[in-house]
Amino acid sequence: MSWIREGELNLLEKISANILMSGPMPKHVAFIMDGNRRFARKKKLERHDGHMQGFNKLAETLRWCKHLNIPEVTVYAFSIENFKRSKEEVDGLLDLARQKFERLLEEQENLEKHGVCIRVLGDLNMLPLDLQQVIAKAVVMTKNHNKCFLNVCFAYTSRYEITNAVREMAWGVEQGLIKASDVSEALLSECLYSNNSPNPDLLIRTSGEVRLSDFLLWQTSHSCLVFQSVLWPEYSFWNLCEAIVQYQLNHKSIQKARELHREEQALQQLEADCACIAEHLQHQGNGKPADAQRRQEALQHYTVTREERVQDFLQALKHKRDTFFTNLCSETVLT
């Protein structure tokens, strides 16, 4: 089955889509596609077929999102915790992924036509090398597309992602690119795997579970969370509409909370800068308090240099990550 489904919505769906789209629409939706195995059990299918149906539903959901003008989708495909499952099932899931990413490579033209950019979030090093290479190829091939974005979380947990971001910042400190005092909420966000995406507006979890299971904990702190009881392979266009209505009902209050959070974040940054300046001036002036004007100038100067430092570091980080992917691709050429 292909990743990209052609086909229009039927008349009723189209009308409903138009009605929904006259309200505020989420720009980025995240899915926890839960319930494939329960679906298989219910229908007396093999587990593997349950996962297969789950993938088909993803392709269909992407089509709905396209029609609903939702440009970005993030899905939880494989958690680091999933490695704990039976070897048979893990191998089955990795095989399915291998097959699907290979299929993706064959669909280059179609992806280009729709401008689909695929990103994979997670620690690829945990995967078998051949799978890493296929994934890297798909990512590199689509990286310049900019109409729709699909982020696949693979070998991912949110705590791991946050820890990895801290590790990257520590790397920056080791390299002398940034100082430890430059660490801030904004910088940490930039070091996450998801640094290229805005935070999701809406997170949907199917199958009636009401927890996040270590998925996008940082990014969804001001997102609308919708828990639906339907199993993922049975997910329908109308379930998606229901979730969007939920988002629209929450839209104003969440927007307000986000604004509040942004203000607080700016304040914290300012405080951190002031603390650095105070220390610096005290050092310089041998303990004498500096006058207000000098402090103001020093603060401005400090902020500018800090931002430059951070930008340089982020450039270096981006370069490091890009090289990782291109190296993986060129390795395949060699073998």
């Binding site: 138009n18 009605i19 789209m21 006259s22 309200g23 958690s79 680091i80 915790e81 999933n82 490695f83 704990k84 499952r85 947990t157 949110s158 705590r159 791991y160 946050i162 820890t163 801290v166 590790r167 990257e168 910042m169 520590a170 790397w171 400190v173 080791e174 100082k179 430890a180 005092s181 660490v183 801030s184 909420e185 940490l188 579970e209 009401v210 927890r211 996040l212 299971s213 270590d214 904990l217 940082w218 969804t220 702190s221 001001h222 997102s223 609308c224 969370l225 919708v226 828990f227 209505v245 939920q246 629209q248 009902l249 929450n250 209050s253 969440i254 909370a257 509040l260 959070h261 607080e264």
Partner: protein, 288 residues
């Protein structure tokens, strides 16, 4: 055409809002009807004890009754709550109360804190995304003590609690041996504390105490736990119409179950216990 769609959309949203309001109104209504029904049945059966218990329960919600001071009703209530807690298959160790509403009611929050502890929950954290509870921490404390007296009677030796504000402050007031802990949290305790932990780690890398490769999930977890000194919440009860965590402890809610209630105002013990029952019924596979 676009105008028409816009109109229908507005209508649709209004309908959903009306439906939601009706449901939550009915919820409250049904509860009082049910209460009255039972009260009448009990009265008809001429059983003085349960009837008086009912009066006290209602009075407890209104917090203005003389009958409430009598230790007998409070005692039986306490043992009922305790046995409720024991009857559940599993009970959360830490429960988070997240208020996503503009108006805050200290009394209702205090009631819930007391109920949670009476049922046997060891840690309760209270959160609102404006940080108002944290700012008015002492007010909330007083209210909790008052409700503790009202609901559990004068003898509070079994339910002393340690109220902490932010991990950094010293425990305030009456810290007596006993276990239940109330934490008042604000957005500062969320992402901000992760950033602080990250900064700390980077400082030690700067001083060459650690290498960046040494940093692991468990290391960060230990650092974040140190500053909070509480286990991860297993259950979050969220109040209000907004379906979002609004910045509540992002690191700690990895496996937290979310239960949503329409409002924390006039919330009843049954509402809270219902959430606990839902938690007790769920089964976590932990990735397997």
């Amino acid at each position: 055409m676009a105008l028409l769609y816009g109109l229908i959309w507005r209508l649709l949203l209004a309908l959903v809002r009306i439906k939601r309001a009706t449901v939550s109104w009915l919820r409250v209504r049904l509860r009082t009807w049910k209460g009255r029904f039972w009260q009448r049945t009990m009265a008809a059966l001429l059983l003085p004890v349960p009837v008086s218990e009912f009066k006290q329960k209602k009075a407890g919600a209104d917090q203005s009754s003389d009958g409430d001071r009598d230790g007998k009703g409070a005692g039986s209530r306490r043992s009922r709550w305790l046995s409720d807690g024991i009857s559940l298959e599993k009970l959360p160790v830490h429960i988070g109360l997240v208020v996503a509403e503009e108006e805050l009611s200290y009394t209702d929050i205090a009631n819930m804190v007391v109920w949670c502890m009476a049922v046997g929950v060891s840690y309760v954290s209270v959160y609102d995304h404006h940080g108002i509870f944290q700012k008015n921490n002492s007010w909330l404390q007083e209210e909790i003590v008052r409700q503790q007296h009202n609901l559990l009677g004068g003898d509070d030796s079994t339910f002393n609690m340690e109220l902490l504000k932010n991990g950094t402050d010293k425990p305030q007031h009456f810290v007596v041996s006993c276990r239940p802990v109330v934490k008042v949290l604000s957005p500062e305790d969320g992402k901000h504390s992760i950033v602080q932990a990250a900064r700390k780690l980077c400082h030690s890398v700067e001083k060459k105490e650690w290498s960046s490769k040494d940093i692991s999930v468990s290391m960060l977890d230990v650092l974040l736990r140190e500053s909070k000194n509480i286990p991860d919440p297993e259950l979050v009860v969220k109040f209000g119409p907004v379906n979002s965590t609004l910045g509540f402890l992002p690191w700690h809610i990895r496996l937290t179950e979310f239960v949503s209630l329409p409002s924390h105002k006039n919330v009843s013990y049954e509402d809270l216990f219902g959430s606990l029952q839902r938690y007790s019924a769920c089964h976590q596979r932990l990735g397997q």
